[in-house]
């Protein structure tokens, strides 16, 4: 090897080594059927990606994964004061699933907690506006109201409400007693 070749060899080694810090090496990520992801380039979202193998340049590009399987919510034995001063004891189960990966990812620091947060807030709010007689006789209507409001709020965070039902709903003694 001539002198020029040696110099060229070392400069190539140097170039590749130094350059990879700023460009990175291609690596692949495989998303499973129940996962979704957002492809980022230089820190900015470029597109959503679905299941399958995806190539990224490590360093400058990134894929953030989101689990799209339904999130189950269960609350039992909670108390809420009603509009007439009585107290109701309620419990419910619900499930929700991510429909819009990007919306869900940006909606909260812990996106998997959104369904529990939203349904609990809505149930508490709906029951707090209801009277004891409505809690005793209009449980289906109350559940429908909760579903309607929850669906609307969850949609704005990229989720879809799959199911909701009260497992327990009864009135107790007034809270001030």
């Amino acid at each position: 090897m001539g002198a020029l070749g040696v110099a060229f060899f070392w400069l190539c080694i140097l170039g590749i080594y130094a350059f990879r810090v700023f460009v990175g090496l291609p690596t692949s990520h495989s998303l499973l059927p129940y996962q979704g992801g957002v492809f980022y380039k230089r820190g900015r979202p470029v597109r959503e990606v679905g299941p399958g193998k995806h190539w990224v340049i490590a360093g400058s590009q990134k894929i953030l994964f989101v689990d799209k399987r339904p999130v189950q919510v269960c609350a039992e034995g909670r108390a809420v004061s009603l509009a007439d001063g009585a107290t109701a004891i309620f419990g419910f189960t619900a499930s929700a699933q991510i429909q819009d990966v990007k919306k869900a990812l940006y909606a909260s620091g812990i996106y998997s907690q959104i369904p529990a947060f939203v349904t609990l807030c809505v149930v508490r709010s709906v029951l707090n506006h209801s009277r004891a007689d409505a809690v005793r006789t209009e449980q289906v209507a109350l559940a429908e109201q909760v579903i309607l409001l929850s669906r609307e709020k969850l949609a704005s965070t990229g989720y879809e409400l799959l199911s909701f039902r009260f497992t327990q709903l009864s009135t107790a003694v007034p809270v001030h007693h």
Binding site: G2, A3, A7, Y40, G59, A107
Partner: protein
Amino acid sequence: MSDAVAGLFTIIGVLLAWSAFLYVRMTKTVYITDYQAGVKFRHGIFSRVLGPGFYRTRSGNAPINVVDMRPHQFLFERLTYQDALQSDSLISIAGSVIVSDPYLAVTSFKDIETDPITVAKDGLRVAIARTMADPSEQGRERIASGLTAELNRELRKRGVELRDLEVTELWTEVTDPYSVERAN
């Protein structure tokens, strides 16, 4: 090209490659997405806030603290208190905390996800006692906006703020709506 020049090139190449090797070994890549911010320090002094992108930094002398700027939701359930009229009351409040100033937040809170919520709850207990427990729709909105304004005055000094505060439950022993009206 003579052997001497080639030798010189080789030495320079080896030195540069070694420098690059050391640079890679002594630094690490920090990736910041568009919902994050990076607070960079240099030799113990705040340097700047970094936007989305990827950065190489020396973790010892120039650490970058990555801050999540997404909202963190909270729900305070059934807090009992006495309102401004000394009426026994009960309230549930939902809302979210977001980082408004990454540098202040990093230097004020050890855990940016949970500590601001604890501080907010603490402030809420004090502030709520100065409000009128009015369960009407307008009353709830007034309480939420009043609490937001009052708590944010303190929280903004620490680089975080409350958003979307909502009174999800409110009960008070005052049953005569006119007494609330008179007090307001």
